[in-house]
């Protein structure tokens, strides 16, 4: 007989369970289960193109800008419109603001307490009040980054969540010297906070070897990159298999690697032998350069043992915030942001389907739309980071749970496997789109 034990996940975005299957007093399998499937792919059918980006934004309150922007990119492909450089820069700033908020929240509320426990720096359970008192300077630095990320998206997106300025054809934008000055100060502040937080991470954790149970098995790393440089808006998709073999592919070729039936949950992968991973770790694997000397210095402090461990994603969260703040400061200096450039009108549709991709904070995000004769959506396929990662999450938590259960302590199993789940930074809202 198979016994099924269900436990609720905490400190993750959204509502998820772990389902543990026990047979003959051994754990046979563990599943990370997400419940509230919403069916956005169904909701989008019949919707007007100008309305689609506003609707898909509501898939996720953490990566709303990525959802809106990838939607605009997919629609722009149908009109065969090349977005002006100013709009591209503003979209990048919006995505940077979103990343600051999303990564800093995940690092502080979800990863950091686990890291303290895993490396036995703090041996008792850490509640939210212990956490904010643990290191007041860390707490205030993080709060500030969360707030700044929010403000940046308000300033460039019109709203801090569910931005309204990105539209098919570009971004609604009016140059303002004042705004540039404020945002410049913001990014400088974030950089200074991050230097402290990164140093704090290095001081606390770099001397340890990360635990083997968190090692990522042989997987396919999938990420966008631009000539092998870090880029979340523009570039090509690459799959890195194992340690060396790279495979670049054009976006429209994605069906050679994975596909989905939009009426059913889940993604089908062609490669049945390896799980896929998207997110900071895959970006780190695929990208050869973050374009910053400071970053190379920080990364050199961590060896291969860290690079292949899912716990490394927490450090990469900090690194990516740093890179994007540096890049954003360069964007803010660009004279293009000072001019008034009209947006192209959306006239005739060239292609009846459009595919777009960006790297959302949690990984590659692909939207694929088809329209009917009345120019409303007849099919939408959304490939969303957490949904891509689920098979690997299940694989890793099952292995860890089997090993932990040798001591027959089910409560410990429930508690410990959630640390792997949280290290993936799953976005359940996204996965239940």
């Amino acid at each position: 007989m198979i016994q099924k034990v269900i436990d609720v996940c905490t400190r993750v975005e959204g509502h998820g369970n772990v389902k543990i299957y026990i047979q003959n007093d051994e754990i046979s399998n563990v599943e990370f289960e997400i419940l509230a499937f919403r069916g956005f792919e169904n909701i989008l059918i019949g919707k007007k193109l100008s309305d689609v980006p506003k609707i898909v934004s509501r898939i996720c309150g953490l990566c709303h800008a990525s959802q809106t922007i990838v939607s605009c990119k997919s629609i722009e492909e149908m009109y065969n419109i090349k977005v002006n450089q100013q709009s591209v820069l503003v979209r990048r700033l919006l995505m940077a603001g979103e990343l600051l908020k999303s990564h800093s929240m995940h690092y502080f509320f979800q990863s950091f307490p686990d890291l303290l426990n895993i490396f036995k720096i703090y041996t008792k359970p850490i509640d939210i009040y212990d956490l904010i008192k643990y290191n007041p300077q860390l707490t205030s630095h993080i709060y500030e980054i969360i707030k700044i990320g929010n403000d940046i998206d308000k300033l460039f997106g019109g709203r801090s969540i569910h931005a309204i300025t990105p539209i098919p054809g570009g971004v609604i934008y009016r140059p303002s010297r004042n705004r540039i000055i404020i945002v410049e100060k913001y990014f400088l502040r974030v950089l200074s906070n991050l230097e402290w937080i990164i140093k704090n991470f290095i001081d606390l954790f770099s001397k340890f070897n990360p635990p083997e149970d968190f090692v990522i098995p042989n997987v396919n790393f999938l990420s966008l990159s631009n000539n092998k440089s870090y880029d979340r808006y523009d570039g090509i998709l690459t799959i890195k298999k194992g340690l060396a073999e790279y495979q670049d592919f054009r976006l429209e070729e994605y069906i050679d690697y994975f596909d989905k039936d939009p009426t059913i949950r889940g993604i089908d992968f062609t490669d049945k032998n390896h799980n896929y991973l998207v997110g900071p770790i895959s970006r780190n694997q695929v990208v050869e350069s973050y374009g910053s000397d400071e970053i190379s210095g920080y990364l050199s402090l961590f060896d291969e043992k860290w690079r292949n461990n899912i716990l490394y994603a927490s450090f990469l969260n900090l690194i990516e915030m740093y890179v994007e703040s540096q890049n954003s400061l360069k964007i803010l200096e660009d004279p293009i942001l000072k001019s008034t450039i009209p947006l192209p009108n959306l006239k005739s549709i060239i292609s009846r389907e459009g595919i777009g991709v960006v790297e959302a904070p949690r990984g590659s995000l692909i939207h694929h739309y088809r329209i009917n004769k009345r120019n409303v959506l007849k099919e939408a396929k959304l490939f969303i980071a957490t949904e891509i990662n689920i098979a690997l999450i299940n694989n890793m938590i099952s292995n860890y749970a089997r090993k932990l259960y040798e001591k027959k302590d089910l409560n410990k199993v429930k508690k410990e496997i959630q640390k792997i789940i949280r290290a993936f930074d799953p976005c359940i809202s996204c996965a239940t789109h």
């Binding site: 919403r38 909701i43 506003k54 939210i128 569910h162 009209p342």
Partner: protein
């Protein structure tokens, strides 16, 4: 004694709770209350007696009703945080899924509307809650303070045939900007509560009604309004407007 506060999510995008977390007042709020349940940032997963419950998200599954009733039984006051909890929200667009407001199954003490609620509104509400005062919302519609209104009344007679301005018509608010309805673009300002500082309108985008109506029922307000204006056939049939943030109350 510190007030005990519970923050829970049903079916949602987490945008409302992440807005709470990123509001200026949150660190101070956290110090002044005792957070008894907030799974997004806390491991505590038992629902216990509390003073105030803030609920984000709509009801889309039967299993959420039990959780909600449990919270209601344990909380002195229950508030709907955001438009999904208050009216059903974006999932109302689904023909396959239910999207219930929490007031469909439990009695509530108030709403903090918006998709997500504006940060200023969240800040004001959190302060009032810790001071044990009722949440106060404006009783006026968005037009009453709209920068595009000028001296005109709402132009009900103009034909309305567009959902959004086309890209060459887009104008970020300036002194020459004109009422959307006057320009033939659908704006839900007349039936939407003020409180958002017209952020969309100032960017050149008409109101999509995310704060909901001043009086209770979302759909009846919308039906009345759409029948008053001269809406094109194409838009009359478009479900994206009709069920954008709510649908008629359903049984559970």
């Amino acid at each position: 004694m510190k007030l005990k506060i519970l923050i829970a999510s049903l079916t949602s995008c987490s945008g409302c709770i992440s807005s709470v977390l990123s509001s200026d007042i949150f660190p101070q709020f956290l110090e002044r209350i005792k957070l008894s349940y907030f799974p997004f940032i806390s491991d505590e997963n038992k629902i216990e007696e509390c003073d105030i419950a803030l609920i984000e998200g709509c009801i889309s599954m039967d299993s959420q009703i039990e959780l909600l009733k449990d919270i209601r039984n344990n909380a002195k006051k229950v508030y709907a945080l955001g438009t999904c909890a208050a009216f059903g929200g974006i999932l109302s667009l689904s023909e396959k899924k239910k999207a219930g407001a929490i007031s469909d199954v439990v009695q509530i003490d108030g709403i903090i509307p918006g998709c997500p609620p504006p940060l200023k509104l969240i800040g004001n509400c959190l302060i009032r809650l810790i001071e044990n005062k009722e949440i106060k919302l404006s009783e006026k519609n968005l037009c009453s303070s709209c920068p595009l209104r000028g001296n005109n009344n709402i132009p009900f007679e103009k034909p309305v045939n567009k959902l959004n301005p086309s890209n060459d018509e887009l104008t970020i608010f300036n002194e020459k900007s004109n009422c959307f309805l006057d320009n033939g673009i659908l704006c839900l300002g007349p039936i939407t509560r003020e409180g958002c500082d017209h952020i969309c309108i100032e960017q050149g985008i008409p109101c999509e009604g995310c704060l909901g109506p001043v009086s209770k029922d979302y759909t009846s307000n919308l039906i009345n309004f759409l029948s008053l204006i001269n809406l094109s056939k194409d838009l009359t049939k478009y479900k994206g407007i009709f069920y954008r943030f709510s649908k008629p109350k359903i049984g559970w």
